[in-house]
Amino acid sequence: MRDLPSKEANLFREILKCYELKQYKRGFKGAEQILKKFPEHGETLAMKGLFYNHLDKKELAYEFVKKGIRHDMKSHICKQTLSGHISLETEELKGIFGWHVFGLLYRSDKNYEEAAKCYAHALKYDKENIQILRDLSLLQMQMRNLEGYVDTRHVLLELRPQNRQYWVAVAIGYQLLGTPELGVKVLATYEETLKDLPSTPDYEHSELLLYHNTLLEEVGDFQVALDHLDTIEKQVCDRKATKEKRAKYFLALGRLAEAEAAYRDLLALNPDNMAYFEGLGKSLGLGSDRQTAEDEVKILEMFKQLQKEYPRSNAAKRLPLRYATGEAFVKVTDEYLRNMLRKGVPSLFVNIKTLYTDSAKEAAVEKLALGYLTSLDKSKGFDNSGAVVEPPTALLWTLYFLAQHFDYKRETEQAMGYINRAIEHTPTLVELYMAKGRILKHAGDHVAAMGALNEARELDLQDRFINTKCTKYMLRADNMAEAEKTAVLFTRADIPNPLNDLVDMQTQWFSLEAGESNLRQGQIGRALKRFHQVDKHFNDYTEDQFDFHTYCLRKMTLRAYVSMVRLEDQLRTHPYYVRAAQDAVQCYLRLFDKPDGSESEEMEGMTEAEKKKIRSKQRKAELKAQQEAEDKKKKAAATAAETAKKAGGNAAAAAAAVKGDEDPEGTKYTKCEDPLGEALKFLQPLQQLAATRIETHLMAFEICVRKNKLLLALKALLKSIKIDASHATLHEQLVRFALAVQKSSSAKSLKPSVKAVVDKHWPELYGSHGQDLNAFNAGFIEKTKTQGSVAHVISAAMSAYLVDPSKNLTKAEELLFSVKEEKFGRTRTLENAILVQKTLKGFKSARQSEWKTKAKVWFPNAAAFQ
């Protein structure tokens, strides 16, 4: 800055301040003023670029910052750092200011890789610049360059050894690198330097000590961890954490009597914490997976005592149901169910159905509940003893419970009977209509299900939960217009397009359901738009952690911070992402298979003339919709401009609102050059995080086989085989792989190197069947014959057809129709029956209507068979 005369130097200080205070316009004017006199002043040029960035002129921003660096390097200037601290040292350093600004620019664009490079450049000129080192370490953490993080943090620690944050950061780095023992050493060294310990409760110090203890726990020597816990106890504020840790350590060390006492102590604090009960059971040597009859008696006795001790604890009442069997189960469940039905707990069935993994328990519950109903009808009591008259609601909740129970077993008729009786009994109860809707949904009648949910919604308009459920059912029935109308009842009303509020609020269930509805209707572009929205939300979650890298260190919330960082690493295993990824991959596969896109499921198997008719109808509808959207946009724009004017506020936001959605159909996605490449982008996180799920590899195969990447397809198959060699879809994929190899081989396009690898693994895939796919398929049918699994039958039929469409058609059809046999009853679900129908359609089979008639007997309500 020395190279500026004092007037301009002051002005420059002024604009730095403007940046800190986010007064970008004022700062920009200041920079222009300096540049008028000194057009080649590097630092000012860089600052001007930074201001451009905040005034939404990205390109100019990069241009000026680069210009700044160029001039900065020529001139001798002083060291400047931004963001928080501005040190005005007069050392002569080249370019550092410009590179730092460049890094900030990249960071604001979330381009962490490039930003880190810029910081590294800046550090070349000044290895010990604290601000830049800190910024760099944040980027390294964000990108999980943990080695780099530890290195940078070491440098910082050496520069500022008196600062606690720098010690802690190094420890965290080691912990995340998987070497908690080094972290322990760092913290121990730091703690030794502390002269006087805080005498009053000090939360930050307390958290530091607990973090230290957590590291010891992670190292795995529980004795050391326990001893440490004893020494720090007096200074720890989080008493509950101390108690939980101590109980856990006692248990791990086998000091069972002490563990028991510790868990009993914890239960007194919270008698509804399942983990405490579990810990207590373990410390008594009970509650393991393999439980003897003796253990069972003991554990039930334990819970009996606890119930007396904590009469208000729900967990103490519910947990015995998990451990009890046989007669004892009937006894405890009887008591539990009566209590809950008398009280009227709507969630009772959801709570009970987890026991149904044991079919004996399922049968016992059914018998009990049916018994209650008979008695309530006869004598208004749960048994016919005549001792107690239950309130009328007991009958109501029993009917509700039974309806859900039989729906769970997919016995639609029974379930409908009970729910209709319940509605007749008390027609004002919202839950009943929801249950009815669910039964209808499971029976395949989505329109009637939506009707039931809407009835429920109209009974209680202020209930967001039922409004949300109703919206979801509308989407399942592919009624987008109603769904949008219903959803916006609970969104912000003061924005031009209230539906956008759902996106802003990251309402993922809506994006997913709407996208899946679009997909069902063949609107691939719209569907992809939704699935990309979900992907973006997950990106945002990842971005959102950035601020915590500094914030948590400052606040010393270290245990929470580390668990957050670990959570972020697993984020995309969340079912919402998995679902969005699977759906998106499906969309892109369809785009690849049928680039013209518009072919919906209904149109498959139609003649050209019919298709043409439908297409022209669709076009007309589209034009009309476009016109309507146009009008709506104009109106919305007018109101938005109006509100913005009234608020006198943010012009940019108003402009964005006016702009609206320029691509409602999502043509950006349907017109993409490389659908398979896009599909891969969705899949990659799953390959990394969900490699144990077979679906991941099944999808990978679908993408790779279309790309004709045979080796990658082979890799996916081998992974699938490892997870579940008898998976139904896998068999069909194996057949398709063999066909792809044969085709490639006969076209002479199979590279010898590829062929060698494929040949090597061939026996792993096809056993002794070699190239004879008919024999391979026959083997599969034989092997899975006794399973009675519809999915496997479909796969076998599909495979037979693929091997030879003309010769094997009859055989494939016969296979599909074998599903009518009794042994398939268990897996003859609505989903599978629909899948058979689709498969027949794919064959262009003449027996489609025969199947429809057949399936309609099993699923009389299903819309698919009407």
């Binding site: 008398r342 009227g344 709507p346 009591g381 005549g386 001792a387 107690v388 008259v389 239950e390 309130p391 009328p392 609601t393 007991a394 009958l395 109501l396 009994h425 008390t426 027609p427 004002t428 109860l429 919202v430 839950e431 109209e458 009974l459 209680d460 308009l461 202020q462 209930d463 939960f465 039922i466």
Partner: protein, 185 residues
């Protein structure tokens, strides 16, 4: 789905112990009628009464305040009462209260819920009124002439038959009705 705005102060727990078999205790509470739960009132009226009420009826219900209530039994909505105020003939300072509907779902009858609602309405009529507002001097209603149960119920609460209105319910088989009334002091 928690029922909206139950006034907990009016929630009572009734346990009868005197005669066997023992009744299990239950909770009763009155709640306001709002635009959000109007659907429940409509559903109740459809089930309870053969008369179809016009949209205007439900609009008025939202404006009479404490004179229209829903009753909850163990947090489930099972009955309702709706009244309207009518100017008394020839007086500006007095008005009558007409009970248009009062009903409880069949499984929940004989548990004191109807009395609870009627008691509430009568209490409200006894409250002092603000200056310039008309005082309620009479509560009245119509009962189908063959509805013994209802007649007995209202008589128990101090209502008297004022007149017999022939062909009052012209669309029903039993078309005659009794007009019952109670004078408020």
């Amino acid at each position: 789905m928690t029922p909206p705005a139950i006034d907990m102060s009016s929630t009572t727990t009734t346990t009868t112990t005197e005669d066997k078999p023992k009744n299990v205790g239950f909770r009763v509470g009155l709640g306001d009628i709002t635009p959000n739960n109007l659907g429940q009132l409509k559903r109740l009226n459809t089930v309870l009464f053969p008369v179809v009420y016009a949209p205007g009826f439900y609009k008025d219900v939202l404006e009479v305040g404490e004179f229209a209530k829903i009753i909850y039994f163990n947090d489930v909505c099972v009955g309702a009462v709706c009244c309207r105020k009518e100017p008394a003939a020839g007086s500006a300072t007095e008005q009558n209260l007409y009970i248009a509907t009062l009903g409880v779902l069949a499984p929940y009858r004989r548990l004191g819920l109807g009395s609870e609602m009627l008691k509430h309405i009568l209490e409200q009529t006894n409250l002092p009124v603000a200056a310039g507002q008309a005082k309620i001097v009479k509560v009245y209603l119509h009962v189908q002439s063959n509805n013994e149960e209802a007649l007995e119920f209202y008589k128990k609460h101090g209502f008297e038959v004022a007149e017999k209105c022939e062909n009052y319910y012209s669309q029903f088989e039993v078309s005659d009705a009794f007009k019952l009334e109670k004078i408020i002091n």
